[in-house]
Amino acid sequence: MKNPTFSKSALLFAALLASGFGIRAEAQDAVTAITNAKIMTVGPLGTIEKGTILIKAGKITAVGADVAVPPGATVIDAAGRVVTPGLIDAHSHTSIEDNVNECTNIVTAEVRVADVLDPKDINLYRELAGGLTAANVLHGSCNSIGGQNATIKLRYGAPSGDALLFQGAPPGIKFALGENPKRASFGGGARRYPATRMGVEVSIRNAFLEAKAYKKEWDDYEAAVKAASAKRPAKGAPAAALPPAPRKDLQMQALKEVLEGKRLVHAHSYRADEILMLINVANEMGFKIATFQHVLEGYKVATEIAKHGAGGSTFSDWWAYKEEAYDAIPYNAAIMASHGVLVSLNSDSDELARRLYWEAAKTVRYGGVSEDEAFKMVTLNPAKQLRIDKWVGSIEVGKDADLAIFRSHPFAPDTRVEMTLVDGKVLFDRSKDVAARKGVAATLGGGQ
């Protein structure tokens, strides 16, 4: 960051905006204390058998076994419960209004999921009930280069889609390889290029050749403007003529940001060959892939993925729903992780997103991942993949108070989420939900 002062104030402003809908009503110095809890911090403090978390202004201000609760604090007694960081879903399409895909072109890097978020989508609430507090909301996989993603916090009921956005999260974009962009999985409908894996590769390479030319045009222009403004004209002489500005193209702008490392690439992929293909194209064109999504054959090329520095966000055990998904194994997450790939487990589904903790548990059974490492796959690891780990993903002082309170260990078969907090605000409370259900039942019964 070139200008830390500006960035800090910008962040503060963003945080104020973001917290406005929920926190403003409460005094900024009000303290919430979660007490008597078993705390799985997923951070340097490990697991605290019985401890306290203090929350102020949406942030964690203290965590530990010997933390004093200040007078006047709102106390949530979590005796017998397990507090964890809020879960993070690195592949979601939740709360998207209208079509998930802009399917009409091969490259639609100009479209933005952030334009179509619906903060009243009931799925956000249902996901909160599964302890989920953040999600990477992606464009669909219809085209080789899809639209821009939105990293959100699950601030269900926020006044606008913008209020869901995770302030400070770097922007990203969806890529897709294989059957979906070549439309092999979609019977009928309009055919459009590409129809083969070869075509998918070429379409990405062509887009980046164009983006590089676009970037050069803008770089040259900006250099010329800089040079002209540095050259002070002699007194009385006219100012040096500036070159005409190039046309701004929203699609090329997004790919230019990928080339500049400012926009994260999340690449939908299945087969080992296409994963290697994209790594080669990225190396050739000079960009990085942040995550391979689904990546069901990642176990075959884990070393190459790790070498590129990409993460892998996969399913625990979901496969064979189409031809390119037949060579999947439930050991995929474990094998990728053992080869140095940063691994997360995702849902790609509003339903599965409500129980990601059990998805993580499966990697203990298949591949012998330790419980701590397994739980990271739905908390800290996706936070790192989305570059939001300085705010979320673990319970640490200074991080956002995005927390889930479980009835028992999140991997236990009888567990469930009792309460979920986002920015320190309780957005799901099972006891209230159960009470409300009785009210609804009474209304329905009385109306008949």
Binding site: D98, N99, N101, C103, V111, R247
Partner: protein, 454 residues
């Protein structure tokens, strides 16, 4: 259609008829032949001011020349006894499908007859004039509902072109135009198999179009300043229109159907400093606080059950749809209660009056409803200086009602547009004697709607 004005029984002095002889004359010549009228002893709801009982309204040369309890009746005026009748300003439907071709069924046109051979209109046509697509004879039928003025909008497409305020009079659409190019009309919709096929794509499309418009304008200006030694930039009429929108010179009349579309439209307006008029908004009450803060030019549709496009995963939720229809019906009343200013529009509903009545039934006060279809739309469309109320000097767009206007009992006896009289045909009102309908007979006004499912 070229109806002779049918002077009804209310006419005391019947002079020479005009009508068929007017074909081919210029609007000015037409107007000159229109007789003067004096409607006496009527209740006049001016909308701009008080309700005047037992008043006379004089219409001459297409203009309201006098209104009040004691006015001088010109010698040449036809006097209409308005005893027991109520006058209101002509209704303005500021987002209307009147005169526009019906929506095309999907897949139509292949191997069909002459009708099917018509080419699909371009769904992206910023440089076109909507009034050129109006079928005058069809549009004039809206007068049966007391509508004197429309802003016609195509039923399908993304960017419709220049919107116009049109009076329902005469033979040719261009002669109907009161004010051309009041806005660029467009919709936050999608085009299915063609870009944009998603709401995300639609937003991106509008952003790029606005940026390209501004860029094109700058390019042309730069060339104009120093044309020597440079390749001439190509003129693009569509981008030229977008440039006007981007500079704030031309409002964007945007169809906003979803609740979230309000914020999307405000987002575009803020990003590009646009003037926007928002049409649709059947669930706008959900954003009452936002609307109070932003005070937009708001057109609220009484098309409470518009056809829905199938989503990617298809399927409609019947319970949700029903709830949406019910809340849409309450929407105008709820907005009024919050003190939010809006005009009611048909939004392609078949029966504008029925929609207005439903809004009244669900909580919109009658006087507020009348204002929302007269003076408020005139203000929003920038024509309140010439229409929207019964005031001296305004265009002679007047509706003569028996019974209380906008109620089910009300009948529209006469409609004056630009001072020209039109009398709707009496509709048969059930069987004689008022008994139950006999077998094979249908009581009242029954409409059948055939919906073509995609």
């Amino acid at each position: 259609m070229n109806r002779h004005p049918r002077p009804g029984l209310a006419l005391r002095a019947v002079t020479g008829l005009v009508g068929a002889a007017l074909i081919g004359l210029s609007p000015a010549a037409e107007a000159a032949k229109v007789p003067s009228y004096a409607i006496t002893k009527a209740k006049v709801i001016t909308v701009s001011g008080a309700v005047i009982d037992n008043a006379t309204v004089v219409l001459r040369d297409g203009v309201v020349v006098d209104v009040g309890p004691s006015v001088t009746i010109p010698k040449d005026a036809r006097v209409i006894d308005g005893t027991g009748l109520t006058l209101t300003p002509g209704l303005i439907d500021a987002y209307s499908g009147a005169g526009m071709p019906a929506a095309r069924p999907a897949g139509g046109g292949a191997g069909g007859g002459a009708a099917a051979a018509a080419p699909a209109p371009n769904p992206i046509a910023p440089a076109s004039n909507i009034y050129e697509r109006v079928r005058a004879a069809d549009a004039l039928k809206a007068r049966d509902s007391g509508i004197t003025t429309i802003v016609p909008v195509p039923r399908e497409g993304l960017v419709f072109g220049a919107a116009a305020v049109m009076n329902l009079v005469g033979e040719r659409p261009e002669g109907m135009v009161v004010k051309q190019n009041i806005a660029l009309a467009a919709s936050l919709t999608t085009l299915g198999q063609r870009y944009p096929g998603s709401l995300m794509g639609t937003m991106a499309f509008f952003r790029q179009a606005l940026m390209d418009g501004a860029y094109h304008r700058a390019e042309m200006a730069s060339y104009e300043k120093a044309p020597g030694g440079r390749r001439r930039p190509a003129f693009d009429p569509g981008l030229d229109v977008w440039a006007d929108v981007a500079s704030g010179a031309l409002p964007l009349l945007l169809q906003t159907s979803r609740v979230g579309d309000l914020r999307r439209a405000f987002g575009l307006a803020d990003e590009f400093k646009l003037k926007v008029v928002l049409a649709g908004n059947t669930q706008a009450f959900e954003e009452a606080a936002l609307l109070k803060e932003r005070k937009p030019s708001l057109l609220v549709s009484v098309n409470f059950d518009p056809p829905k496009a199938g989503g990617f995963f298809g399927g409609s939720d019947d319970d949700k749809d029903r709830a949406e229809i019910e809340s849409a019906e309450k929407n105008p009343g709820a907005l009024h209660k919050e003190g939010i200013r809006f005009a009611l529009v048909s939004g392609f509903a078949n029966d504008f009056l029925a929609g207005i009545r439903k809004a009244i039934e669900k909580g919109l006060p009658k006087d507020a409803a009348l204002r929302a279809v007269t003076l408020t739309p005139a203000e929003i469309l920038g024509v309140a200086d010439r229409m929207g109320s019964i005031d001296k000097g305004k265009i002679a767009n007047v509706v003569v009602w028996s019974g209380e206007p906008l109620t089910k009992e009300a009948k529209i006896k006469m409609v004056f547009v630009d001072g020209e009289l039109y009398e709707p045909e009496e509709k048969p009102a059930g069987p004689p004697g008022g008994g139950p309908p006999r077998p094979g007979e249908v009581a009242g006004d029954v409409r059948a709607q055939i919906e073509v499912k995609r």
